[in-house]
């Protein structure tokens, strides 16, 4: 399922998307019809910067997760995607290990990550690793979200276990993110490039390109611990601003990939104009950080809460594209209902289904950790 995501990213990174026929260019959803909005609500979220350590509080789930997705050498396996690994997965694994207070697992995952993915000549992380390929690293480009997740996990680990080695590593990565991937003086507000190569104004006719799901809001609240000189709050603020502006079509949902070339956001060229596997994480991160007001959540709330099954959405036509059957995806809706409506989560929120793949299972555990961290009343019992 997530394969589509990676194919898109690979296409984009390689610049191949740029030669896509003009017919594929999606100009349609540039008509940013405001979504049918539910009446404005006042949200009372807790946006404090909270330590992640121990927040998963579900040892059995973490155990299941490790047993299914983390190899004994520390490789986090994307089971639905050719058994590859990527910086995002390693970052999630490290974060979940901190949230589960499982230092042994953390060390394994981080050690694998640096030994296999830190092959660039800077402090960023090559994003994709494929077993059975020669070489296993299949792209030297980075993915900003993976870098941010890993730097954040290191910062959390440094604090939880008082580990100077992790503090130093987290700082080196975080500073490099601020230096190579952030555009702090952009006329559009602080921007986070999705990768070093392939997304900037010079790289693409519709650049700079934005992926709002790479704005890991809960990380921004905590990375100041290792790199205080970087304006993480500015990134958070601009991310929130962009979420308010990037509302396409009737659904009012953002697409995974967004062009800011013209100032106003529009779906990026060469990509399906879809609210898809990337962007579904936006509300997850918002709620994890306790950030945002109703305007930020309303479209996601309408998309996720109270739905039997979620689906990716073509923002141009408003039609569902892929059904998101796995319960892990539904956990996003559970978390939103919990954060916004104070709706208690059902017992299934505390169980991991055997059939689920890496991505929905990961989102599920993140939603659970987020709920435990900020919305405990919903997950009691």
């Amino acid at each position: 399922m997530k394969a589509a995501n990676f194919v898109l990213a690979a296409c984009l990174i390689a610049g191949a998307c740029m030669s896509a026929p003009a017919a594929q260019a999606q100009e349609a959803s540039a008509q940013q019809t405001p979504a049918q909005q539910a009446p404005a609500r006042t949200l009372k979220l807790d946006g404090r910067a909270l330590a992640l350590g121990g927040s998963l509080a579900a040892p059995h789930l973490w155990q299941q997760y490790k047993q299914r997705f983390v190899s004994s050498t520390g490789r986090v396996i994307d089971t639905a995607n050719g058994l590859i690994s990527h910086s995002e997965g390693q970052g999630y694994g490290m974060l979940l290990a901190v949230a589960a207070n499982d230092r042994a697992a953390f060390e394994r995952i981080w050690a694998w990550t640096r030994a296999n993915l830190m092959v660039r000549d800077d402090q960023l992380i090559a994003w994709r690793w494929e077993p059975g390929q020669r070489p296993a690293v299949s792209d030297m480009n980075n993915a900003s979200d993976g870098d941010i997740l890993i730097a954040w996990a290191l910062a959390e680990a440094a604090e939880l276990w008082a580990d100077v080695a992790h503090r130093a590593s987290g700082r080196r990565i975080a500073v490099e993110i601020g230096r190579k991937l952030a555009l702090f003086k952009s006329p559009h507000g602080a921007l986070l490039l999705p990768g070093v190569s392939g997304f900037s104004t010079d790289d693409r006719p519709d650049g700079p390109i934005l992926n709002l799901s790479y704005y890991v809001f809960p990380a921004f609240a905590r990375l100041g611990a290792v790199a205080p000189e970087i304006d993480w709050a500015g990134l958070s603020q601009s991310g929130l601003d962009h979420i308010k502006r990037a509302r396409f079509g009737e659904s009012g949902l953002p697409t995974d990939w967004i062009s800011l070339r013209d100032g106003a956001p529009r779906p990026a060229d060469g990509f399906a104009p879809q609210f898809s596997y990337n962007a579904i994480r936006i509300p997850l991160y918002l709620a994890w950080a306790g950030l945002g007001d109703w305007e930020h959540y309303s479209a996601f709330h309408a998309w996720a809460v109270g739905k039997r099954a979620l689906a990716t959405v073509d923002v141009k036509t408003g039609r569902d594209v892929d059904r998101l059957q796995d319960r892990g995806y539904a956990s996003i809706g559970v978390l939103l209902a919990c954060a916004i409506d104070r709706t208690p989560a059902g017992p299934e929120f505390r169980a991991l289904r055997e059939v689920e793949h890496y991505y929905p299972a990961t989102l599920h555990l993140i939603a659970l950790a987020a709920a435990n961290l900020r919305y405990q009343s919903c997950v009691k019992g």
Binding site: A14, Q63, A115, G132, M140, G178, R179, L191, D202, I230
Partner: protein
Amino acid sequence: MQKSSASRLKILLLLSASVCVLTSAAALAQSGEGFLLEAPAAPRAVSRPAVAPAAAPVAAPGARPARSVNAITPVEGDGRGPDETALRYYAGLNQKARVNAEIARLKRLHPHWRAPEDLYEPVAASGEDEQALWDLFGADRIDELKVAIAERERAEPGWKPSAELLKKIESKALRLRILALWKQGRLDDVLAIVRAEGAGDLADIELRWTIAEVNARMKKTSEAVALYKDILQTASAPKDRTATIHKAMDNLRITDVEPLIAQARIDGSGRSEFEPIAVDITRARISAFLHDERAEPIPGAEFRRFEDYARGVKDSNQSGLVAWHHYKTKAFREALEWFKLALERGGDAMIAHGLAHSLRELGMNLEAEEVAFAWREPLINNAILFIDVLERDLTKPVPPFIEPERLHRYGQVTMDMASGEGAQALGWYAYNSCQYEAAYEWFQRAVAWYPKEATVYGLALSSRKAKRKDFYDIVNRYDGLFPKVLETVFPDGYQRPPSPCDLIASGAVSRRAANAGAAPQPQAAWVRPVNTPASSPAAARHPGWNAQASAQGLVQGANSQQDYGWGLQPLAPGEDKMPKFTRNEFPAAVDPENPLRYLASGKLMGRPSTLAAIPAPVGAFAPEPWRAPQQLVARRVPGVGAMPYERWGFALLPGGNGLQTPDAPHSANKAPAGTLWAAEQATGSGANQVGAAGALADPSQAAAQLLGMGRVPPPSAMRVGGQGYFRAAEAEIDDGDESVLPRTLMRPTFAGVDVDPAPTGSIEPEQPLVLENPDFEPGYSRPFLNGGAGEDHSALEPSIGDELARKAAQIFRSHRRLEQDHAAPRAISGLEDGENTSSILSPQSPAQPASTPSISILGQ
């Protein structure tokens, strides 16, 4: 806070019934909700408005207290003059004594104010007998007041409240609504109300400040500036005017505040009315300069005045600001002096960081290293700087003299931090000193922690020199990814002079020396060890190896290289052959996963960690699901250039994204437009600084943040070591039987600054090299992961640092005699003679071990 305000208020009310005090009460009522409940208990000795409807200071949610506005101070009125409500009220009641008292009070607060002449003229509206209503008004009990008015209108048909009261009620209700929204953080709603209804007649200066701040916070900068400007145009009291500037500086960038400062009134002597807050203004300008919000440094005279101020106060932050300003203007000598002053005044680890950077900029790397080391624990930036400063020397082709103690602690910090940067530096140092076993061990750690191309290249070379079995594993594993690693087996068609180490090994050096009739003069001081993860004297395990002679030979060998010519020599056509491999060599199947894993020492900067060791893993991990055979043909990777075997016509498989031809190496990527990296590339800045990639954001920005100077703009990070990693690799290219890059391409550059690795003159044997061979403890060099699920590796780690220290200390002792030539005590060159260096260089933190070496004791 509320409680204390309320009780304070009670006391005030008991002590005095003066209007002045009661005005304070109104002020406090705004900030302390408890007050309204308690206030009625106060004696109400006078029958008049309990509280004059004056403005109340507004506490912004989470806002810092205004620097010059005391929340308890009676508020003097708005910017258009004092509030005359109470005065007119008393006049309306013809209470002349109170009128006179109020006039006196207002004059005291507003010296330029004149009492209105129409005080005793009849008021248009009724207004009589509204005492009770004014009481409610004064207590901000607007809802009750409205009820009271309605009741009275019902009870006394025809009665109407005075127009003044009605108007005031309306204004005050608006004011209270605005302030309530402000307190709730509903800034959008504040702006909406102000837009729709204005700020009312009660727009006293506090409310106007608040509205300006809301605009500033909502990024309506020009509106905020206009509002502050408007206040300045109407406010007359000096205190209000300076407070306006202060508030503007709190809420806006100083660049936006400058037009307001320019509105200063100048007196006859040319003195600005903002002179009393000149220091604050300069401080804000310095902060903006450090944050890159202001391009130009502070002008000389203004800056000197701030220097005088900073010199006169004890606050180390002020001298720190001066120091960072000097640093950013590249006045490093001045920066050094000010950092020292700030440290003497109790400056923190960030000040020490600035001191270390200044020393580094002044070429005092040794001293910079000392400071960074001493302050490594309180601030991770210093630990990183420590690694990065010495890394530069360690990776030089012929490394300079580095005292054993320095190497020892460098290794220690490298292990504590699990620093790939430090490990590769020590690897190159060992390799370039012909100590391949030590190099191999350090490179194994470097490749576990930071396997970039130059590091893996170092591991491959050391593996082969040390005759390890994993050489071809490394070459195969990184086939398709790291061309330089493949260059260890595929010649590039050129020959180069043999390396000094090879000349030594071949005996060429001693032959040449003998031919020249000059026997090598062993210089004892050359002989020094490289501490490896664990080491013992070389001769112990390599009988016949003469460390001193080798060291001497290394330098002479380097000199001898000249005879081979530095230029690139194409191989003769017959010699440039495709190498032949056995089936097990290349290409061979290999597990694509890098198996190297090492944990950090587990020490907290050299001290035993108080925290529990890493526990054994709980539960099982996933079995590796990949089962297919490994590939023998590499495929293309985006961001990777051509493989060296391609010149013989061998091709790679298309990349996963369809890439058919070699890509531009990612290391040659153009920086994305708009990033700090792009700015560095454009100006050539950054890369000539010391430090590994990502390690150093512009320290002055971090400093500004840590000095409490507010919001942090992006760092203009300095890039140092990124390209530096290739220095070492290039340096060791002199490996005689290796064919690698043309020497013309080997010159390492640091943002345009050439560092010449290949001197054309003779190399003076001033910096000898002697390294130790490793003697690894079983288990020490073992990867911490052996792959078994549930394996307990907690015991593998334990005493690496201790072992390191112990072994290194033995070696150091054995070589102590040899080091005496280099044992002259050194002091920080920037310090005066006789100055106590350790007091400046060591953190004051009690946590710092007493044994922290300072430079003055080195070599003793």
